[in-house]
Symmetry: C2
Subunit: 655 residues, 2 copies
């Protein structure tokens, strides 16, 4: 097993990741989120899985009563594995989570068959046969998360060949024996095992796991899965990975598959495959991604829409698609060094991954709509939510993939902050942090990041250690969202230069105490969409730094819902109190009683317009919405009509 606590540890690529033993988040936005994750979310997930019987499924399988007693959907096993992975990254050796990890590992171990097969929904007496339903059975998907948990235990807890890692290896060996050359010529309806097998190959040095991952990548897209209700595109079995031009079908499936393809491409030096995924990423980000970084427009099949089909009110933006998008972007960043991947990861972390969990870490959005018109109700704290569209965050779901996915992402978050290469160290995400690693030639370096990002835009990087007098480079990502504004870099000499989006570099013989300062322009700005994003025509959004903002009904006067507001983009949005943004706008007094019977009318027909009042519109970070009770929300804000633009200092127009 490798020496560093790395969620993703490629043996090649442009950048070398730093592990959880090299990067520590010490304060700020993500430290708070990780604290909640450790103190609330992990236990919440453990308790719910016990309660709904998903942990018990392993006991039932071990005791020969799986057919009678198994609970949950086909993929319930995977949630236990994802929780184990999350606990491993979050805990570190000697953590109080050790008891939970040991107990869950014992439960999982009890259900493994002698030949390595492990799944509580198939293959036991009275159940469907193993691999009898590759389209929907999720067996290899579950195996993938088991393998990831095994790798995490090995790397994060220094267990080497600890119990869970052994279970994972036995499972992986079983998969290779069953689906390798000469075996079943199939793939899983839900990709995930590809990336897991590559990571196991990296962790163990065993080539056969990588070979098996490459087989699965190459086999997909040839129609081995049935052409079901949503078509083969749903599980990306329509076109081979290396021939596809855009991500399509079920969003989480598409993104996990792409992540696995990058892993295979990097380890095998397959530049054609890597280029194919880069092209797909580019087309997807350019035409199929919400402002928040959210992916997936269709509720029906949780899938990508066509190009530019990005309706705010039916934005699905599944939390797990956000997690998977960060996984993909991170792998592409390591492979290529291109900061655009860190840009999208930042956007997605702050506006999708951070949006899902409630402030208390005990309820989650499954889908992340950008516009909700009705307030709905707070899901009961003790009930399983049947539907992804619950009006507020729910404690648990019948399909509960998102809570554990958020948990494992927050747990491994420090590993996404920085990388190294032969020349120095790169900072990709900004948080209060302490970073220490060895550069080439045993050159030990350490630095400390201080920032109030994303509230503020100042990032201070202080050199704490540099064991050699050789020059090296600190690179800081200047986010793409600074486009059109001015970002400044102040080097240790006090020299100040403007820096365009990309990587800003400072190279010198650093000495302890040297400080680099990056000043990012986080003032709020109006954002508009390509006119082909039809669903947001005539609207603008506000972004402040990496944060997308929204109007939430609880901030509107008079108990109004968000349907009544308009903003005037001729005015600049300004910082308000407590992290809010304020901007002048209008409130229209719709009178439901006067609505009439038909919402369309001739442009040339006279009609009474509803009265309109001037108002200051308060906006809050999108990730924070729905923490103050039932509310309506919108990210894209209709603009005042040209003939109605509000002149400065005019009196109210309404009533």
């Amino acid at each position: 097993m490798g020496p560093s606590v790395l969620p993703v540890a490629p043996t090649r690529g442009r950048l070398r990741p730093l592990g959880l033993d090299e990067v520590r988040i010490t304060g700020g936005f993500w430290a708070r989120r990780r604290h909640t994750n450790e103190s609330a979310t992990l236990g919440h997930c453990r308790d719910w899985m016990e309660r709904v019987g998903w942990t018990g499924n392993f006991r039932a399988a071990a005791q020969g009563r799986a057919h009678r007693d198994r609970r949950g959907r086909e993929f319930a096993d995977s949630e236990v594995y994802k929780l184990l992975e999350a606990m491993a990254w979050q805990a570190g050796p000697g953590s109080p989570l050790d008891t939970d990890i040991a107990a869950l590992t014992e439960v999982v171990a009890s259900a493994q068959e002698p030949d390595g097969y492990l799944n509580t929904a198939f293959g036991h007496p009275g159940q469907p046969a193993r691999y009898s339903d590759l389209e929907w059975g999720h067996e290899l998907y579950c195996n993938g998360f088991l393998i990831q948990a095994g790798v995490a235990q090995a790397r994060a807890r220094g267990e080497g060949e600890g119990e869970l890692t052994k279970i994972a290896r036995r499972t992986a060996d079983h998969v290779c024996a069953t689906f390798g050359r000469g075996g079943i010529e199939g793939v899983c309806g839900h990709p995930e095992i590809e990336t897991a097998l590559v990571e196991l190959a990296r962790a163990t040095g065993e080539q056969r796991y990588l070979d098996q991952a490459a087989i699965f990548i190459d086999r997909r897209g040839h129609g081995t899965l049935a052409d079901g209700e949503f078509g083969r595109v749903y599980y990306q079995d329509d076109v081979p990975v290396r021939r596809a031009t855009v991500l399509r079908g079920h969003a989480v499936r598409a993104l996990y598959l792409a992540a696995g393809a990058v892993d295979v491409a990097v380890e095998t030096g397959d530049d054609d495959l890597l280029d194919a995924v880069v092209r797909q990423w580019e087309a997807t980000v350019a035409r199929r991604t919400h402002l928040t970084g959210g992916m997936g427009s269709h509720h029906r099949d949780e899938s990508f829409g066509d190009d530019f089909v990005l309706p705010p009110d039916r934005s699905y933006s599944e939390t797990c698609a956000g997690v998977a998008s960060v996984m993909l972007s991170w792998r592409l960043l390591l492979a290529t060094g291109d900061p655009r991947y860190a840009d999208l990861a930042e956007r997605t972390l702050f506006n999708v991954v951070a949006t899902s969990p409630a402030e208390d870490g005990r309820a989650f959005f499954y889908a992340n709509t950008l516009h909700r018109r009705h307030r709905g109700a707070v899901p009961a704290a003790d009930a399983v939510s049947a539907r992804a569209e619950s009006s507020l965050r729910a404690p648990w779901f019948a399909v509960s993939c998102c809570p554990t996915n958020v948990a494992r992402t927050l747990a491994q978050l420090p590993a996404y902050l920085a990388t190294a290469d032969d020349h120095g160290l790169q900072l990709h995400q900004y948080a209060d942090a302490e970073i220490a690693t060895s550069l080439a030639g045993g050159h030990d370096v350490a630095l400390r990041v201080r920032t109030d990002y994303p509230s503020g835009g100042t990032v201070s990087v202080r050199i704490d250690r540099s064991s050699s007098g050789r020059p090296w480079t600190v690179s800081l990502r200047v986010p793409a969202w600074t486009q059109g504004a001015t970002a400044w870099l102040v080097d240790p000499d006090g020299a100040r230069r403007t820096v365009p989006p990309g990587m800003a570099e400072v190279t010198r013989r650093f000495r302890p105490g040297d400080e680099i300062r990056l000043e990012l322009p986080v003032r709020p700005r109006w954002i508009r969409a390509d006119p082909r994003v039809d669903a947001v025509r005539g609207t603008v959004a506000v972004q402040r730094g990496p944060l997308v903002y929204c109007a939430e009904s609880v901030d509107l006067p008079g108990g109004h819902d968000v349907e009544v507001i308009r903003v005037d983009p001729a005015a600049s949005p300004k910082d308000g109190p407590d992290g809010t943004v304020v901007t002048p706008g209008q409130i229209t007094a719709y009178d439901v009683q006067r609505d009439g019977t038909w919402p369309y009318r001739p442009l040339d027909a006279a009609a009474a317009e509803p009265s309109t009042d001037r108002a200051e519109i308060v906006l809050v970070p999108y990730h924070s919405w729905a923490n103050r009770g039932p509310s309506t929300v919108r990210v894209w804000l209709p603009v005042v009509e040209p003939t109605r633009a509000i002149p400065p200092d005019s009196t109210p127009t309404g009533r």
Copy 2:
């Protein structure tokens, strides 16, 4: 059985419907559609049901091999019944369709159980038990269509208690015995039987069928059905009919239920129930209906969206919801006499029901999107389409409810044209037609309608017969779409008066040869939506008479797709050749190579705009689209930006 060939024959209500024996469509738009229905669609449906085994299911059930040989979904039986109903209304006595009707009736008869139960998917050896799955089993739904077919045979073919009618009565008796007071306290997951039972009560005079329908209406909304994936709202089991304020859940279910509730309300004099449905209709039309009259926004569960959630590109607007909406509007028109119901029926008939079938009557839209961005492919003429979202009309579907529903609606269409009351005759829909009936006191009247509607706006009504010298009234609906324009009525004396939307009346002692002329302003007009319909902000649509128009890529120069066009609402759309509408606009030359990697940007950031050329945009009736090969389409057309409005007579702005 009643004396007239009436699809819907209430015993009370403001207006008396006229039967297929009293109204004959002699030419024009609907005559062509009905001809295609008779000459192509009915045989097409018959052949497909034989081919996919849905007719064979009855033979299999009769021969005890239903468990092994049954084909299709739970509700496949209903398609055979809907086809029988369509054939009955279309054919009349002595038609060449007689052979088909007799053959299909014999097949159906063979599968009826001695106790009246008839369903090929349940209750036979090896199948699930009868009524073991009220949520999804569709048994009562199928029974409903069987009953409707029995009523149609009796009324349209003068068969009285013919074979199919006897089968239907035995089935209805079985339903009453099973689900009446003291029986199963349940309802069907798909409403339909309610309206069918009332019609059978009307046709037979048997009170028990009406009582059973009233039981089903009152029983729904009390949560007797399971709270499944889409919630009880999906099958309207969330709130009792008389307490609901808007149609919600699965659109076809909601509309069939509302139609049945009107039938029960009318027959039992239950004004509260009628008022409840009127309120639901009003709220639904005001906030949940597309410009075409299409209903249902969600693909996931084929359901209504929230208020004002009417995205053109994800408009579901299921064809069957259009059919069901016409059924509901027609019943409300008969009950109340309010022309707004005929307005919506007209809009829905021309823009939803008429859109579904291809020109040749052998392929159908299941869903009717208002915006398609990719051209897709023509479904194979010999393949069953698995999905509602096929890019073009498909010959048959795995769920093939729409073809037979279109067929039975076109077959009974003459019955929707006119009604009578004590004072005279009302014309609700305009087509070349001959109408003859008896008014109160044995006063026989006949008239002839001549019009090129909807292409032209002149409707001529000539009196052919009036057997008494008493004065009577001819009322003509002035459609709501004339709002803001001028409609004229010319009475037999040549007196000309403007008439507002509503009913225009001419009362006199009519003599043969008297002519009334209605002049409707069918010039094309820009339509805009309530600003709360967020998805169409910044766009306009064109309506000409009752027809909604669209831009279809086959009419754009240079192989462009519809994403490139904008229109200038400052100019008036004008009639073009062959029923088209033309209007000045722009074509934007998007360059996919130059798209960049992110479709959002700051309002204050400079960026190269794609070049734009002036162009004449050609629009065609929406119902006609997709008859010229794969194409893209949009009903809602983006408007030129204010700063870019095209000055009259300016030179091209682009390149």
